[in-house]
Symmetry: C2
Subunit: 336 residues, 2 copies
């Protein structure tokens, strides 16, 4: 294992310190417990909005801290690599940013995250709700999950809900939009290589030069099956088919505009991600889906895994409005 680290125990704090220093105009890092907020967020400067808080294990950067800022998150709670944050992190973050309109937690569906965010929610002395993201259509139940996993679609949910919250919408409306976007989003990933968790020091799984893991999770957990490596178009075709089949199985009609997110897991060149976009957009078009919004790059990663995930989010006027609205975070910025 070759990584730019000093020692495994300090990796998270050193990295977060660099993040907070590089984006000191946007975020503030708090330690003991560890969470990040928008700069100068505090109860002494309340804003008339629902506080949007997310979190989860580290190693998926820029998720979640990279999405703190106007139009997205108010705070994020990072755990150690691929490890859930603890309830005291969410509680302290919620205390720091809530503004009397309640707190909405956006939680990826992994057992540890769900349990810890639930504990925090029960202990919170004010109104709160949770959007559980589960956009991964690869598998039902997985290594760390009962039910579908929350993957790259999570950042689309954070963008849309974050936008709605800025308008002063109430907690129920924010939760309803988050649930709707989650419902209208499907993702599937494929890995060419494993990731290497620093504390483990060796690849999470073995994979031959002739193999891919179809449906891989964002921690390198198993997907649908190990398949033979083949040309990009054939792989993308299978991913697109899986997404289309998922919407069909859930009785969600496809005849609408859509956002296509081609996400890199961390070690896939942009050149390849755009090639994947090219094929996926054509295939969806052939099935009557008009791709009117796009995003290509490393948005929800799995450390140094080579691979990609394809996410389709079916837009309606409300989702489109909140996707297009101005956002100013470290990892996503437009309109300001």
């Amino acid at each position: 294992m070759k990584k730019f680290i000093n020692n495994v125990d300090n990796l998270l704090v050193e990295s977060l310190s660099g993040f907070a220093s590089a984006h000191s105009d946007l975020v503030t890092l708090h330690l003991e417990p560890t969470y990040l907020t928008r700069k100068n967020a505090s109860k002494s400067t309340p804003k008339n909005k629902v506080a949007i808080i997310s979190g989860g294990g580290s190693g998926h950067e820029p998720l979640h801290a990279g999405y703190i800022g106007f139009g997205m998150l108010d705070a994020a709670c990072p755990g150690h690599v691929f490890t859930s944050p603890t309830p005291d992190q969410m509680l302290t973050a919620a205390e720091a940013v809530h503004a009397d309109m309640g707190v909405l937690f956006i939680v990826k569906n992994y057992a540890g995250d769900v349990m810890n965010f639930e504990m925090a929610a029960e202990m919170l002395p004010f109104e709160n709700a949770t959007v559980l993201t589960s956009d991964d259509c690869a598998v039902i139940n997985s290594t760390y999950t009962t039910g579908r996993r929350g993957v790259a679609g999570t950042m689309i949910i954070e963008k849309c809900v974050g936008s709605l919250a800025e308008t002063g919408a109430n907690l129920a409306a924010c939760k309803a939009l988050g649930d709707k976007v989650n419902q209208r989003t499907a993702s599937i990933g494929v890995a060419l290589t494993s990731c290497t968790v620093p504390a483990a020091g060796r690849p999470t799984f073995d994979i031959a030069d002739t193999e891919i893991e179809m449906g891989v999770g964002i921690h390198g957990e198993p997907g649908r099956r190990r398949e033979t490596m083949r040309e990009a178009d054939a792989i993308v075709n299978d991913c697109v088919d899986a997404i289309l089949a998922d919407f069909k199985a859930r009785n969600i009609h496809l005849n609408s505009e859509a956002l296509l997110l081609i996400n890199g897991f961390g070690a896939t060149p942009l050149m390849e991600l755009y090639l994947i976009y090219n094929t996926a957009a054509k295939l969806f078009h052939n099935h009557g889906v008009k791709i009117s919004r796009s995003l290509v790059g490393n948005y929800v990663t799995a450390l140094d895994m080579a691979g990609t995930s394809i996410t389709l989010c079916l837009l309606d006027d409300e989702i489109k409005q909140h996707w297009d609205s101005p956002v100013h975070t470290a990892a996503l910025r437009w309109g300001m």
Copy 2:
């Protein structure tokens, strides 16, 4: 070699097609010869500005096509992976976007690029000039280069010159700013792994699990020396020392604000890049350099190489103004 490609011959066009499709609001792709322009750019819609054109081998994405748009480039000419574009590409691109105030080529200092851009410049029937970028302080002369190599600092030069051109500044002023930013910028890279050129099908160089290549180029060409892998802070310290020594050798004073760019070569997790930022910013601070601007991410890559480059650009009021100004490209966007 596992990559998301169909066949090596079509990789570039398929990837560019995806790029142009994903960013159809921003760019137009032209084929035979291959170049990209801002959307709807043509002589029939002249703007009163110097046309800024860059180009070079592919594999460094988002450089250069990702920097086409308001505030940066008017056009980009991509060659095949790590291969110079040809003069007909630059000529045709220049014809398409020039607006009677001349053309400025921004060219990274590699023998093939220099030769081909020079040929295009000689054949161009209108006023033109060239900024040759050479920010890499690792080595004098290299595999593909006589003199210093142009690396990640190139995107800073493109940002600043592109901003100045939008103000209607003339060709001489744009060239002067580009030369100044180049002069005030120094970079050095380090590789943990090799990249793999698709047409070659195997890693460009062999490197042991215990080794790093200090001063590596963005094509995987050799740097200063092969060194022993060690903790991140020690590696970053050596990079910072190399940059400080370079400015000192060139008699450029350090007591100013600076932009610190921590660039990933393609396979380095953001978590590690921010850790590198944390250490580098502190070390520069200890030497009297105030880091007042920052950028962390994959901006000038080397396909799937794991590694990083550190770039310091010494700001003055003019450079700061043009770095901060609004920009709207696929890979860099703020203020609009």
